[in-house]
Structure formats: structure tokens, C-alpha cells
């Protein structure tokens, strides 16, 4: 699209004032040059930008593309690139003026002393340009630039004329011009365009690039900053193509056939692999091991010190207790004994003895000797003694003794219960131990099979639990929906009564019967107090399942822990869900080259499809193949034979026509709208991008060009209505 820095032309003065300047004012590119030349001198993007210069603070104007590095001197945040076009009509004439300034300046006009641009101007516009835009443009050229005369022409027509002269197309035909924002289909009869038959649809190259940019940015949000407009255009130019038949092309990729791999293109973004950590050298390892050893030793020493401390404490305590006991034994008088007791803080001798027993046991444990289970024996031995009254029948006891008996019965039953519970636990422990040993044995003899079985069991259990959870949430969702009108019902439209469990169904029933209008026409629920008893009948929101420890879930846990131990490829359910719900790659996995790749597979032909199906971007208009048929339909007075002739000479021009595969697709599309077996021939213009300017240049160079221009006086005299009807004659040089 032209060089970044456009050199100023130096031969401006060499051209006489009769030489017209030809301007192709396109939606994407502005081309300016001299009439009669084969190429425009200056080409640049038709945009202007008004940033603030940082150091001086003034607002300056920049037109076209420039070296992006230079923009650091400017504050580019408040302003953006602006185009003088709105769709395909020029509306912003201030920006247009900046663009023209730049164009003329680079053409060398600044060297002239004339104080105006003293050349006739031929400028392109869109077909049926609104007269306001045309008038404003004429005004700008006449009053600001002092241009002597102006002519406006349609770029597509110029391109067609140029190709006609090259013999590519005939005198009658159709020009299909795919522009930046719009695409036109203009029938040409005897070399002149027929505006009444032309048709415009509002899709063009801009929409294709924009679609590509958006789709890639959304597919790779991590790389969105790298996917700029310029990059998207570049990708479009290099890799996009038009599918000959869109649905079957989609199928190639959907079914992941071999061709899909070949059609895939990968854009590798620059990335730097993280520096490899060298494996620690021998000395490093040795040093680290030594440090760990020392730390371990320190910990062990501390533990040992604590233990010995504890032992000495316990020994002291034991000693004290033993002296107390001996003192009590020695004490002959009961008062001495009780005073000793009071001093020590224990209430009776038995307490001291039990404390003594406890301390000696803990001492033994601390020392690492097996604890002697003395308690149980004493309990069982003295059970009969402890509860002497139990065996004596009731009648023989006094009321006090009866009370005593009741207490003893209670104590006995509870202690026996406790005993039984302990025994059952011990049995369960033994059973589990035996099972574990069996499993261990099985695992050791056949590890593969064991793992398989475990995995099977895991899958079954997790499915069961998932299903139950789903039912429960569905039921709860439906149940809650009654009261609160919860809109986010996961299941959507299920029948209300189906998945509620018994409790919820009962609640529904009660509510509906209470609220059912009994024909009185008034809601009398709540007037009587008894009505509210209804809520007592309803069970609370069913949480009982959660209270009970779900046996399946416990089993699942067990199996999961086993799998985690033995199976290296096992991923827990919770972790799997986590991984699915996050979109970014799970960290801290190292980034590979693949993460920095942008893959273009379906997008390659999906984006140009916008031209044929504008519905993809929400524009409910016809595609570029269909507008040809609309355009022909708008010429009812034309003979069929002429239309057939026209269809044999369809030229596709404009920047958007450079997509590979376009003509083939257009042919299928247009053939579908034409009568069976009518002739059809579609050719691409010799140079779709430049032909408009070249055609205009040839036109302006012809002798009769001056008959087609109008001057300021003409404009002032004849008025707006005349300007609206103004249309040049294209076939000047026949």
C-alpha cells in the first residue's frame, strides 16, 4: 500500500495548467497523479489523524501511514484515525481538506507560486452520490484550492472502460466493484453506466478485515493486542480465500478430514522460551543435603530434649503422689489423714490412687514401654461390687435405696454399652485390616488388573453420585422455583411434578390446596390462626440427605485415595472440574511455542463469506452475487438478448476482488439467478486496485475531457438541481 515515506514530486511545474490532475478518492486509498500517466504518483491510506505534539502542546495533523516509531513524540490517546467517509460518501470535509493538502503537497504543488491549484481536477465518487456531498466537494475545490474546473466520475465505470479498451470486456456488460465499505453492481450499456440499474450492498473489504480481526481476538484473547487492524489486513491478503461451496468446505473442517490439515495456516508469534535452569551441580546437591541433615538433626535433638523433660516431670509427679500415699498409710489418726488430704487437694484416697495410676501409665508410654490396660479389668472385676443393689429385688429396698438402685442400673447399662461399642469397633478394625491385607495381596500379584478394577469402581461411583446430585438440584431448582420464581432453572422446561421428591411433592400439594380459590373470590388464607399450621405439616427443605454421611461418597473417597497412591495418571474429580472451568492453561505449566501460535483454519474462508452472506454480520441485505440479479431486474425495459450479452461481460474490480476463488464462487452464485443455460462469463479486471485510476487518467487525457468539466461560474449559475443531474459521458474517445 505505498511506501511509508512518500517522496515529494519535483516536476509539478513541468505540467501546463491544462493538464488535469486525476484523483481516485477511494474509501481505503487516495490516489493522485497526472492525467495521461499509467500510474498515480502518490498513494496513501485515506485517513487523517490529529494528535497533540508532546513537547510543544500544539495539535498537528498527520495524513496517511507513517513510521510507527515516530508516533512516540505525540500523544495519540485522545485522537484516532479518522476517515472523511461515512459508508462510501464523503461527509467530513475538514478531514478531506487535510487529505487533499497532503496529496497536493506531495505532488509538488507547494513549489508552485500560483497560490492555487491551477489544474482541472477529475475526481471519483460513488454512483448516485448525494448532491450535498458533491456540492461541498466542488465548493472545497473551487474556493479553497482555486481549481479552474472539476469533473466527477464513477470509479467502477472508469475501471470498466479501461478494461474494455484492453479488450477484456465488451461494450455492454456489468461492472461489479467490491469497495471498502460497499459493493456496487453497475450495468453498462454501450459504454455508459446505467445508474437506474445499479445496485449497492453495504459489505466490502472493511467488513471482511473487521470480522477476521474480531474472530481472532476472541479466539485468542491472550494475543489480542498483537492482532491489530494492519495485521488483520495482512493476514486477509495472504491467507484468506473464498470457498467454492461454503457448506461443504465447513464439513471438511468439521469432520477433520485430511484436507483440513493442509488448509490450516499457523501464525507463530514471537516468543522467547524461558531460560533453562541448569541442573544443580554436584557441590550444590551435596551442600543442600548437608544442610537438610543438620536441620533434621537439630529437630531430633529438640524432640529428644522435650521427651526427657516430660519424663522427668512425670517422675516428679509420681514421686509426690507416692509420698502422699505413704503419708496417708502412716497416718494413724483420721484427722491427720484428712488434713493431709485437704492440703494436697485430692478428695479421697481413691483419687490419689487413680491419679497415681494415670501418671505411671503415661510415664511408661513416654518411656516407650507398652501401656498396661489395667482399667478394663478393674471395671469388669468390680462390676458386681459396684452395683450391689441391682441384684436385690425392689420390694426389699427403702425409697432411698431404690433411688440408689436406679442410678446403679443406669451406670451399669451405660458402662456395658460402652464396652459393647468398644468391642464392635475393635472387630470392625480387625475386619478392615483383614480386607486391606487381602487387597494388598491382590494388588501385589496383579497390579494392572487391580488398577483397572479400581478405576471401574471409581467411574461407577462418581456417575452415581453425579446423577443423584443432578436429580437433587433439579428437584430443588424446581421446588425453589415455586416460591422465588428462580429464572436460572438449569433443566429448562421440565414438568413440575416429575423430579420432585416425596417431601417436595407433599409441600406443593399443601400449598396448592391452601391457595386454591374455593369459589369465594377472596383470598382468606391467614385470617384464621389455624391456617398457619399448614407450614408445620410441611417438612423443612430436605437437607436430611446431606446430614447422613453418604455411604457412596465415603466409598468414593476411599477408592480415590487408593488410586492416587497407585495410579500415576489419575486425576481427581474435583481437579478435573477445575481444569475444565478455567479457560487459561493451568499454571504453573511452562508456556510452549504452541501457546504463541494463532491458527487460521476455518477463518480463512469464513471471513470472506461475509461478502456473500451479509447476514453473518447482521446486515440483512443481498450478497455480492445476488446484487447482479437485482441490478438486471431493475432494467425491465431491456431486451433479454441485451441482458444475456451483459452477463457475458461481467468485470470484477476493486480491492476486494483480489481474494482467490472469488470468480468461481460468483459464477455459481450468479448462474443460480439466471435462466437455465444462459451465457455467463466473469472476468477479473487486469489490475483491480489501480484500474479505476488508470481509466480516469486515460479519460482525463482525452481531448474532449474539457467538455465534461464544470467551472465555478457554472456551479453558481446553474444551481443544485443541475448538479444533481450532472453526469459525465464516459465514451469520449470512441
Amino acid at each position: 500500500m505505498g511506501e511509508i515515506r512518500i517522496a515529494r514530486q519535483t516536476d509539478y511545474d513541468l505540467f501546463s495548467p491544462t493538464t488535469p490532475i486525476v484523483i481516485d478518492n477511494g474509501g481505503s486509498t487516495f490516489r493522485i497523479g497526472w492525467a495521461g500517466e499509467s500510474d498515480p504518483r502518490i498513494m496513501f491510506r485515506n485517513v487523517a489523524f490529529r494528535p497533540r505534539h508532546r513537547s510543544t502542546g500544539e495539535t498537528v495533523t498527520v495524513v496517511g501511514e507513517h513510521d510507527p516509531a515516530l508516533f512516540k513524540y505525540f500523544d495519540c490517546t485522545r485522537s484516532s484515525w479518522r476517515s472523511p467517509f461515512d459508508n462510501n460518501v464523503v461527509y467530513q470535509f475538514e478531514i478531506m481538506e487535510y487529505v487533499l493538502d497532503y496529496g497536493f503537497d506531495r505532488l509538488g504543488a507547494s513549489s508552485s507560486m500560483a497560490g492555487k491549484v491551477d489544474h482541472p481536477i477529475l475526481m471519483t465518487e460513488c454512483i448516485c452520490n448525494p448532491v450535498y456531498s458533491r456540492a461541498k466537494m466542488a465548493e472545497l475545490l473551487f474556493e479553497t484550492y482555486g481549481v479552474p474546473s472539476v469533473a466527477f466520475g464513477v470509479d467502477a465505470a472508469f475501471s470498466y472502460k479501461y478494461n474494455q479498451n484492453l479488450g477484456i470486456c465488451a461494450e455492454d456488460g456489468i461492472a461489479l466493484s467490491i469497495g471498502f465499505m460497499t459493493t456496487h453492481s453497475i450495468p453498462i450499456l454501450k459504454g455508459e453506466p446505467l445508474p437506474e440499474g445499479s445496485c449497492r450492498t453495504n459489505v466490502g473489504g472493511y467488513h471482511v478485515t473487521n470480522y477476521l480481526k474480531e474472530v481472532l481476538s476472541l479466539k485468542y484473547p491472550y494475543h489480542a493486542p498483537s492482532i491489530t487492524w494492519e495485521k488483520a489486513e495482512e493476514l486477509k491478503r495472504e491467507h484468506c480465500y473464498v470457498a467454492p461451496d461454503y457448506p461443504s468446505e465447513l464439513q471438511i473442517f468439521k469432520k477433520e478430514m485430511k484436507e483440513a490439515e493442509e488448509k490450516k495456516r499457523v501464525w507463530q508469534l514471537p516468543w522467547v522460551p524461558p531460560p533453562q535452569e541448569e541442573p544443580p551441580s554436584e557441590e550444590e546437591l551435596a551442600r543442600k543435603a548437608a544442610i537438610k541433615e543438620k536441620q533434621g538433626q537439630r529437630l531430633r535433638e529438640m524432640a529428644a530434649a522435650k521427651r526427657s523433660q516430660k519424663i522427668t516431670d512425670l517422675e516428679n509427679e509420681l514421686h509426690v503422689l507416692e509420698t502422699l500415699l505413704s503419708q496417708l498409710d502412716e497416718a494413724e489418726l483420721p484427722e491427720v489423714a484428712s488434713s493431709i488430704l485437704a492440703r494436697s487437694g485430692y478428695l479421697s484416697r481413691q483419687e490419689i490412687e487413680s491419679a497415681h495410676l494415670r501418671v505411671s501409665q503415661s510415664l511408661r508410654k513416654a518411656r516407650g514401654e507398652p501401656a498396661v490396660t489395667v482399667e478394663e479389668n478393674t471395671d469388669t472385676a468390680t462390676s458386681a461390687d459396684k452395683y450391689p443393689l441391682v441384684s436385690i429385688p425392689d420390694e426389699m429396698l427403702t425409697p432411698d435405696q431404690l433411688k440408689e438402685k436406679k442410678r446403679q442400673i443406669f451406670l451399669k447399662t451405660t458402662s456395658e454399652g460402652r464396652l459393647r461399642a468398644k468391642q464392635k469397633r475393635a472387630e470392625e478394625e480387625m475386619m478392615r485390616e483383614r480386607q486391606n491385607q487381602l487387597e494388598e495381596g491382590r494388588r501385589l500379584e496383579n497390579p494392572e488388573l487391580y488398577l483397572e478394577e479400581l478405576r471401574e469402581k471409581y467411574k461407577e461411583l462418581s456417575e452415581k453420585i453425579d446423577q443423584r446430585k443432578r436429580l437433587k438440584t433439579n428437584g430443588n431448582g424446581n421446588g425453589n422455583g415455586n416460591g422465588t420464581g428462580n429464572g436460572n432453572n438449569v433443566s429448562g422446561a421440565t414438568g413440575r411434578g416429575e423430579r420432585l421428591n416425596a417431601a417436595q411433592r407433599e409441600r406443593m400439594r399443601l400449598l396448592t390446596t391452601a391457595l386454591f380459590d374455593k369459589g369465594k373470590g377472596e383470598d382468606t388464607f391467614g385470617l384464621k390462626d389455624e391456617d398457619w399450621q399448614l407450614y408445620k405439616l410441611m417438612s423443612k427443605d430436605t437437607d436430611d440427605d446431606d446430614d447422613m454421611v453418604d455411604p457412596d461418597e465415603a466409598e468414593l473417597e476411599r477408592v480415590a485415595t487408593k488410586l492416587q497412591e497407585f495410579d500415576p495418571s489419575f486425576v481427581g474429580r474435583a481437579e478435573a472440574e477445575l481444569m475444565q472451568s478455567t479457560q487459561e492453561p493451568p499454571r504453573p505449566r511452562a508456556l510452549t511455542a504452541e501457546d504463541y501460535q494463532v491458527v487460521l483454519d476455518v477463518e480463512r474462508f469464513r471471513c470472506p463469506e461475509v461478502l456473500f452472506q451479509p447476514g453473518m454480520i447482521g446486515e440483512y441485505q443481498a450478497g455480492i452475487d445476488e446484487i447482479v440479479s437485482h441490478s438486471l431486474r431493475r432494467l425491465p425495459n431491456l431486451d433479454i438478448s441485451i441482458k444475456d450479452r451483459m452477463c457475458q461481460s461481467i468485470i470484477v474490480t476493486g480491492g476486494g476482488s483480489l481474494l482467490p476463488g472469488l470468480e468461481q464462487r460468483l459464477e455459481t452464485g450468479i448462474r443460480a439467478t439466471r435462466p437455465y443455460l444462459s451465457p455467463l462469463k466473469i472476468v477479473r479486471a487486469v489490475d483491480s486496485v489501480m484500474d479505476a485510476w488508470r481509466g480516469a487518467s486515460v479519460y482525463a487525457a482525452s481531448e474532449l475531457f474539457s467538455t465534461q468539466t464544470f467551472s465555478l461560474e457554472d456551479y453558481n449559475e446553474k444551481g443544485e438541481d443541475w448538479l444533481r443531474r450532472y453526469n459525465i459521458v464516459y465514451s469520449l474517445y470512441d
Binding site: 487535510y98 479553497t144 479466539k219 468439521k254 452472506q613 445476488e626 437485482h630
Partner: protein, 124 residues
Amino acid sequence: MEADVVKSEMVLPPVMPFKRVQMGDKYQKGQSRGRYWKHLKQLLQAENFISLPLEEPNYLNIESPPSMYPSKKYCDITGFEAPYVDPRTKLRYADPEVFKRVRNLPNEHVQRYLALRNAAVIIR
């Protein structure tokens, strides 16, 4: 101005010898010119096409009618044919795996996908 900026001549000089009226005189500094220019919609309204004869082609006349083919529905994310629509976000999707991705999209992406299709609800 910095040396490279001057060398590249990227900035338009304020005075151009080939102009009768310079930019600085035409557009006073400080005035906001954004509202001054009529956008295309306003242009067309002002044009008053109704008063013109119908047969004459004008900017609106030559606009294309809606397509005669029914619009196909394509998946917003993958681009394949999409028989399904997500009721919560109104995005179109092609199959269950894509649906998972649809549900996991952040809200901003959902709005951007819809805007691509001109289906986003704009709340001003």
C-alpha cells in the same frame, strides 16, 4: 519539533502555498467541529428524496433489498452450522463441546460475539 519528525515530514505544515484559504483561518482553534458535519443519515434526510421523481436513481434507490435466500445460522465461535441457540446468552453453537465453551465465556466476550452479528443489546 524533533529531528526525525521534521525529516519525515509527516506533519502537515500550517500554511500551504497552493491554498487560497488556510486551515487555520477557516477553522478557528478551539471550536469543536465534530457536530458541524452532517453524517450520512442526516445528509440523506436533508436530501428529501420523496420530492424527487421515483424513477430517477438516487442514493437510497439503488440500495440492495434484503436477500432472497434465508439466512443460514452459523456458530458464533467455531463458524460451523449451528442448529442450537443458548437461551441464556443467545449465542449460536454447533455441538455440546462448543456449548461448554459458550457457557464459560466471560460476559465481555459474549457481548462482543453478539455485536459481531449485530445482535447485542446496547444499553445506553
